[in-house]
């Protein structure tokens, strides 16, 4: 009896305690209108730009740091820290005027000397800057992008010159790269031994706190000097409209969705496709979509004894119905594209839309011609990226439908990435991150496989074409070369491009000014919480 009374008493106390907690929720999430709460699906790797990075790290650091130039909405390059820039007639000297009045987060003014210091640091091997190879003379010829910085000279308090070894059409694009961001960094960011200490940049937000595994907090930089022109891509006026940004680490998509619905976060930057329709139906949620420059494809190991036969590769191309793949994998939220020039890119023409038609009959005829006898072909894929996995499922079914003996080989992401680098696969579903310049995309694909095993296209002809592009800055000629590259890709089929995906971002309806864009990087300047 007394025992039961104790139980009842305990249950009563629990109820009281529970109800006492309810009012706490009003203060729990930081619902201050001056804080923007954004979900990240994994923690950042570092605050040191371009050294340890992934896409989430890029998002956070692009709010703290700025580079000389950056990408605009139309994927051209515009000035950012630079007020303007000029190129010499022989196209080897790039002169940048630095914007006067620009300050670092510690209040120090930005001068050309700071830009030089930053670049000298990036080009030192011990900094381990990921893109150093793009700007120096490499031992192996195939590693060179054709850009070698001979010298960086401070020619005035607010003027700096980059002297190149030879003219190159993509130098500015390389400077604008936001993935290994060549940010202008203050010297106090490193200690006397050159070790990274803290991020001091020039961006509209400054670094406040990083609780590993939990969140990263940035606060508005009160002395930020915005550009005069309107916000345009990563350039233009990058005005902070909120006092703080809190990047909340939420690794589970279902939990992130719940957080958005409950108002615990304001922005869910990359909504999984299967959640889009349901979130769109919610009253307080807005979904915005955009085509991206990321590219999903079926990689082919052309050195494989079976797949080295171009008729087999043509058979595979004819067997694949790209529209069906998009319908299944992306719920129709993608653009078919088998070209290295993204569908949303200004250089994409009707020539890039040419590809092998879906024709199981032609596929079977080609298999017969090639003398295919049912040898096993494996498609490597992983579960970490649902898009890759779903693509593999559908491709397998399509290949089996035409008589190709095809199996899935399910790996974890690290193992698959390892095989990508070593070339140890037959077929592999893969997705390349968004790259703004098709020349850089093709440079990644094209190469001699015995020297660079992760090259996808081992072709002298393709290599000659891409070298021509690097030396050319005439847009019409560049576009013509891109078309020639695609025609060659149709002949040689080194890779089967599937689509450029669309991303969907979810925000609560009290958020204004946010929009996703093709380069996928989340931009939070110009965004306010009503």
């Amino acid at each position: 009896m007394r025992f039961q009374h104790t139980i009842k008493h305990f249950i009563r106390c629990t109820y009281i305690l529970f109800f006492l907690l309810i009012p706490v929720n009003e203060t729990i999430a930081d619902k201050s209108v001056s804080t923007l709460r954004v979900a990240l699906n994994s923690d950042i790797l570092s605050t040191n730009p371009g050294v340890r990075r992934d896409s989430n790290t890029d998002v956070v650091l692009n709010h703290i740091f700025e580079s000389l130039v950056a990408y605009k909405d139309d994927i051209s390059v515009g000035p950012l820290v630079a007020k303007n820039f000029s190129i010499s007639d022989d196209r080897t000297i790039y002169t940048f005027q630095i914007r006067q009045g620009l300050k670092f987060h510690n209040g120090e003014p930005v001068t050309a000397a700071d830009v030089k210091w930053s670049w000298d640091r990036y080009l030192r091997p011990e900094t381990n800057w990921k893109c150093r190879r793009w700007f120096v003379q490499n031992e192996k010829e195939e590693d060179n992008q054709g850009v070698v910085i001979k010298s960086i000279t401070v020619s005035g308090k607010y003027e700096i010159e980059f002297l190149l070894d030879s003219p190159n059409a993509i130098f500015l694009e390389l400077l604008a790269n936001f993935q290994c961001l060549p940010a202008v960094v203050h010297k106090s960011s490193v200690d006397s031994q050159g070790n990274w200490v803290k991020p001091i940049g020039t961006g509209p937000y400054k670094f406040k706190k990083w609780k590993r595994g939990e969140y990263i907090e940035l606060e508005k930089f009160a002395d930020y000097l915005p550009r005069n022109e309107p916000m345009d891509g990563l350039t233009g006026a990058r005005i902070a409209l909120t006092e703080k940004i809190k990047f909340q680490i939420l690794t589970d998509a279902a939990a992130t969705r719940a957080a958005l619905l409950s108002g615990s976060i304001d922005i869910f930057p990359y909504v999984p496709m299967h959640m889009v329709e349901e979130l769109e139906s919610q009253e307080n949620i807005r979904i915005q979509q955009t085509d991206t420059l990321g590219w999903s494809e079926l990689l082919i190991q052309t050195l494989d004894p079976i797949l080295r036969d171009v008729n087999i590769r043509k058979a595979i191309a004819h067997a694949i119905n790209r529209e069906e793949i998009i319908g299944f994998t992306t719920y129709g939220q993608a653009s078919i594209n088998s070209s290295g020039v993204p569908a949303a890119h200004p250089s994409h023409t009707v020539i890039h839309d040419k590809w092998y038609e879906f024709s199981p009959d032609k596929s079977r005829a080609l298999l017969k011609k090639a003398g295919y006898r049912g040898q096993l072909i494996k498609i490597q894929t992983n579960r970490k990226h649902p898009g890759m996995y779903n693509n593999a499922l559908v491709v397998q079914a399509m290949l089996q439908a035409v008589g190709i003996n095809c199996q899935l080989e399910l790996l974890d992401w690290a193992s698959q990435l390892n095989n990508y680098y070593s070339g140890d696969f037959q077929l592999m579903t893969f997705s390349f991150s968004a790259i703004a310049n098709p020349t850089l995309r093709y440079s990644k694909l094209i190469g001699l496989k015995d020297r660079r095993p992760n090259s996808q296209w081992d072709s002298r002809k393709a290599d000659d074409l891409i070298r021509k592009v690097r030396m050319n800055d005439n847009p019409e000629q560049i576009n013509q070369i891109y078309e020639d590259i695609h025609q060659l890709m149709i002949e040689e089929i080194p890779i089967i491009g599937l689509y450029n995906a669309r991303i969907s971002s979810g925000t609560t309806k009290n958020i204004s000014g946010f929009s996703p864009w093709p380069l996928e990087l989340v931009r939070l300047w110009g965004v306010s919480v009503d």
């Binding site: 590993r212 595994g213 909340q248 589970d252 790996l411």
Partner: protein
Amino acid sequence: MLKFIIKRILSIIPTLFIVAAIAFFLIRLVPGDPAVMLVGDLQDAEILEEVRIRMGLYEPIYVQFLIWLGNILQGDFGTSIMTGEAVLPALMDRFLVTAQIVLLSVSVAMIIAIPLGMLAAWKQNSSTDFLITSVIILSLSLPSFWVGIMLILYFGVTLEWLPTVGYATLSEGFWLHMSYLVLPVSSLVLGEMATITRMMRSSTIETLRLEYITHARAKGIKESIVLRRHAFKNSFAPSLTVLGLILGHLLGGAAVTETVFSLPGLGRFMVESIYARDYPVVQGAMLLIAGIYVFVNLIIDLLYPIFDPRVKL
């Protein structure tokens, strides 16, 4: 007893050495390496090779092991390959989060499960016993991640009573801290409570059949005293063993719960490190978890004689 404790502590050393060796070599058997994860898909194979050389991945494996072991003995667990932070402080920070959740959930589970199990045993084969047993079976059948998501959807999204994700430390306010723990603790309590209740029920049924209980009842002692004073200690001893296993298992990281609730705990950290092939973190975490298991079971063994004097250390 002192001899027992010293013997157990000394036996930890070979145990941890074996765990260290297993942790070190096992993770390296898995294809892929941390350089691949660090480099990502935007770089070239040459950069990958450079990073591998810099990480010392081409040193003979026994050399790598001996270097790592030597550092461990000096208290240096290395630095995370992915983030560059020192491994031991990182593990301890995350362990504290996990420990709070686990200790709280086990405490709540025990407070509910012990009387519930004894009640079911006392009312064996009655409707009360049937109800309790049904609830236990249901709790055991529900996956904790599903329970977690349902709790988030109902209490966080629909009612908006509690935060859905995140964590606040004690220094940020007691009630704020507790509010973030309610849902994850609740999702863990269900499963643990069910296990302990079942154990308590079956051991109490056995205890209540013993002669000394019949003797106590025959003497006219009140039923509540019979249960509390005479039956409880003997019934609880087997559950103590199970408790030790549950505690050790959960302190090693309730990875699924931590992922669903976005808690910066040890389990989630360990899983992320395995996927990232962050060798120093994985190795350090496995050593820490092994140490926790050994320590918890030592405490349980030391507590055993309190509940069962027949056991001598």
